[in-house]
Assembly symmetry: C2
Homo-oligomer: 164 residues x 2
């Protein structure tokens, strides 16, 4: 898929079919996350791949709005040091999600409100934070996650020229 | 450009020619930023476009490692509420930078260490934070920003399966 199309058509979507994500596709998603730049090239992000329902169900218990996580055949936890930059995690996560969109996959980021819980479930050492969990799968028939599909303010509301 | 290629070939690069960025290209970059998803669809990001050297020089004075900013023909400040999520700013910034790469443009994110300074220079209301400034332009002949081009840990260093 064309890069610009993959970027602007990506919607956070949390409705999936049961079909799994092929291993070669997963490898491209991980590579997309790996290649995201980071401040001082510190490469702070690590990825924990969750593709079994038991683990996904436990992860789901660590967030306030995450009960649906096990409906995704694939989840990727993006982990950074506790003092790492969320900005860099956002860069890596967006790379993964745009690459997923280019593969015809739906995805949605999910906040883990109880970090200690998810560290424990995934065996992640103390001193880390799960910045986000990305749920990924083939798009289902359900509604998109939030309001009208892709509702956005106008570009004029986003942009200032030279000064605010 | 193919989406996956645009994602994995993007390098943070801070060497630019003098050639400006065409307005239609700029509009696509801004649209890419606008279409990034955000937590609860809060759409926290705003973009201040800086394409004059005088303003860029003033912005450069607000960071510790940003003296080179005016060498970029285009800079986009990504602004969020002071209590906004840096993760969402990272998503928007990455969209802009991957879209730029697909247009054949180089880009590099720059931290503004003195937020009050850059709010003042760009006339941004109090209660906001400039999460990042993205310098953008046609790639020059200079070296890339950090170490060997694209140096990354191996994918194995990034990825854990099911458990850390």
């Amino acid at each position: 898929m064309d890069a610009y199309k993959a970027i602007v058509t990506k919607r956070d979507t949390r409705s999936f079919t049961d079909e799994g994500v092929a291993e070669d596709v997963l490898q491209r998603l991980l590579q997309a996350g790996r290649m995201a730049g980071s401040a001082k090239n510190l490469q702070p992000c690590r990825f924990v791949v969750v593709d079994d329902t038991d683990t996904a169900t436990k992860v789901a218990g660590c967030g306030q709005f995450s009960a649906w996580i096990p409906t995704a055949p694939l989840n990727i936890a993006v982990v950074i040091p506790a003092d790492g930059r969320e900005f860099d995690a956002g860069r890596a996560a967006q790379n993964i999600m745009v690459a997923a969109n280019a593969e015809g996959l739906a995805s949605c980021p999910v906040t883990m409100h109880d970090n200690d819980c998810v560290l424990d479930v995934l065996g992640i050492p103390a001193g880390h934070r799960v910045s986000i969990v990305i749920a990924i799968g083939h798009p289902g028939e359900g509604p998109r996650s939030r309001g009208p599909a892709g509702a956005r303010l106008s570009l004029d509301d986003y942009v200032h020229r030279s000064r605010w």
